[in-house]
Amino acid sequence: MHLLVCGGTGCRASASDSIAEKLKAELAANNLQDEAQVIQTGCFGFCEKGPIVKVLPDNTFYTQVKPEDAPEIVKEHIIKGRKVERLLYVDPAKKQKVEDSKHMGFYRKQMRIALRNCGFINPENIDEYIARDGYQALGKVLTELDPQQTIDIIKKSGLRGRGGGGFPTGIKWEIASKNKADQKYVVCNADEGDPGAFMDRSILEGDPHSVIEAMAICGYCIGASKGLVYIRAEYPLAIQRLRIAINQAREYGLLGNDIMGTGFNFDINLRYGAGAFVCGEETALIHSMEGLRGEPTNKPPFPAERGYMGKPTNVNNVETFANVPPIILKGADWYSSIGTEKSKGTKVFALAGKINNVGLIEVPMGITLREVIFEIGGGIKNGKKFKAVQTGGPSGGCLTEKHLDIPIDFDNLIAAGSMMGSGGMIVMDEDDCMVSVAKFYLDFTVEESCGKCSPCRIGNKRLYELLDRITKGEGTLEDLDRLRNLSHVIKDTALCGLGQTSPNPVLSTLDNFYDEYVAHVVDKKCPAGQCKSLLRYVIDPEACVGCTACARNCPVNAISGERKKPHEINPDICIKCGACYEKCKFDAIRII
């Protein structure tokens, strides 16, 4: 027998270490250490009901276990084989105790569709993909369905683009299919410019064939025989796996001429991007592939009318494509049964920041931020307080406590002042300064703006300067109004999506954390203690023992004082490096 004790950070915070110790001691006392072993595990994704203890082989799932419960678990469950009823998980819907974790519907909040093969198959072996129904969807559409029927399945499934905009994929394919031309193109957007996101990379590294298969299906639907993957050169492993996969598919006759004897021709080539954020925008991406400058142009014409080389082109994101084969095989009704009314299926998120379980998750649309952050994500690091979560990267916004219970989907996130974006989710705690967060994203956009239109090129620079002034304590209340007005002007007048969304981090932090901005400009204080210019280091004369450690480590000799007497910092010399704060063993240095 095995007793699995959750050693995830959430449960550890609530004494799972001492539970494990107690269980071990109890087993030893009963001379059972050889029959049953205590094993520490990672997070079960159930942190809110932690600490968790799971017993194998019977899969009993105990929740909210306390160290005091250890003797009872050993005496009842291990020795007498009777489950400890009061610790069993209660199914909240049925109000019943669940004896076996295999019957816990609520346990698994995650559902993997786009990531179905990631971490499961060897991405460099096409046989493993085929064994998992690979290329069956392509075979099915080529032999059983005509292009319009296939498009209808995608339309009915409710799949929306995962690249950020959320445009209905079936409708996009239909438009491209209706535009007549001698040559059309299918493009996969693998530029992934959002600094907090890496799901597209993971899909290409873990399951490249799913994207290849879906591109071929798309080619059949819109009448294209050529596919292009635009991928950033900074993703060498993804490029390598994709190349291997394309070659294997060609070798098997799953790419090339007369695929599966149906007369359908399709092949894929790679195009490399230099890693500019704006090149993820579809018109800029197409220009970049054409060898022109990666600058966006006005839409219309949309790529579906005039795209790559002036021909009708369908651009989709990596994750969007990865959803296509299961939809074809399992049906539109299956897919549309998952998610919310207007956002179907699942979304992959990259959890990062001050969260315990940093990682890649795939959840059904409609799950709440609370479930994602506190259950799957295991809560905030070091037991700190949740402050905000940034979604949508440089185009998105910060959501707060009051948004934790809204169901996540495309429309709800926009209504809350953020957006889905590509699925980056950066969690912030009480130590994060929201003005600095906005400044961080503006710094990114200023760097990444292509410079073609003035609202974005000049406006974002001004926004950045205003934010910089505020973090230095030089801002005024009027600056806050200026920030807001300028943000709206940029949003309304910028040419492409980059400029139209870049003020979002500013607006959403102004909306949700106005007091924090006011503290910076009026009180000249940074409540989170992040803005260096607004901090002051002082020595508490009561606590200082005069050990001189601080003075010896100050790089600018700002600290004076006699041995064994309270020291003092000269604020005019201090450069706020924090060295003294680190060195003082007596907690005598205060940051105010």
Binding site: G7, I39, Y107, N122, E128, E205, M260, G359, E362
Partner: protein
């Protein structure tokens, strides 16, 4: 040589490949065949998955354990990299996190040789489409 000439070909191929995997899983092809998957996405490799994979290949061979070690993509547990999945004959697959050489050694000696679990198990926390 084109291998898949029709959908029927592809279906036949899937059957035989699945059977192969099944055989492997049931351990009929080779008694006690152990299957190990190492998560080798960018983040896994960055945190040392390659070293672990090489170590496993070498040590399993040295210790005379009949095992298949393959690479796979991101399992999603980036916080616990490097991660590996071990599937013993007649048992559910188990994922271990934070695997370095020392942990790998412990996994071989305790889990693979004796079926004794070791610390560092990562519970599977998602549902795959095959479960539905």
């Amino acid at each position: 040589m084109i291998k898949v000439k029709s959908l029927a070909d592809l279906k036949k191929m899937r059957e035989s490949l699945q059977a192969k995997v099944d055989l492997r899983e049931k351990g009929e092809a080779a008694e006690n065949l152990v299957q190990i998957k190492v998560a080798m996405a960018t983040c896994g490799i960055a945190s040392g998955a390659k070293v672990v994979m090489d170590y496993l290949l070498e040590e399993l061979e040295k210790r005379g354990i009949n095992a298949v070690v393959t690479q796979t993509g991101c399992m999603g547990y980036c916080y616990a990299e490097p991660t590996i999945e071990v599937k013993l004959p007649d048992a559910d697959a188990i994922v271990f996190g934070y695997v370095d050489k020392k942990k790998a050694d412990e996994i071989i000696e305790k889990y693979i040789k004796n079926g004794e679990l070791v610390d560092g198990i990562i519970p599977v926390n998602y549902e795959s489409i095959d479960d539905k």
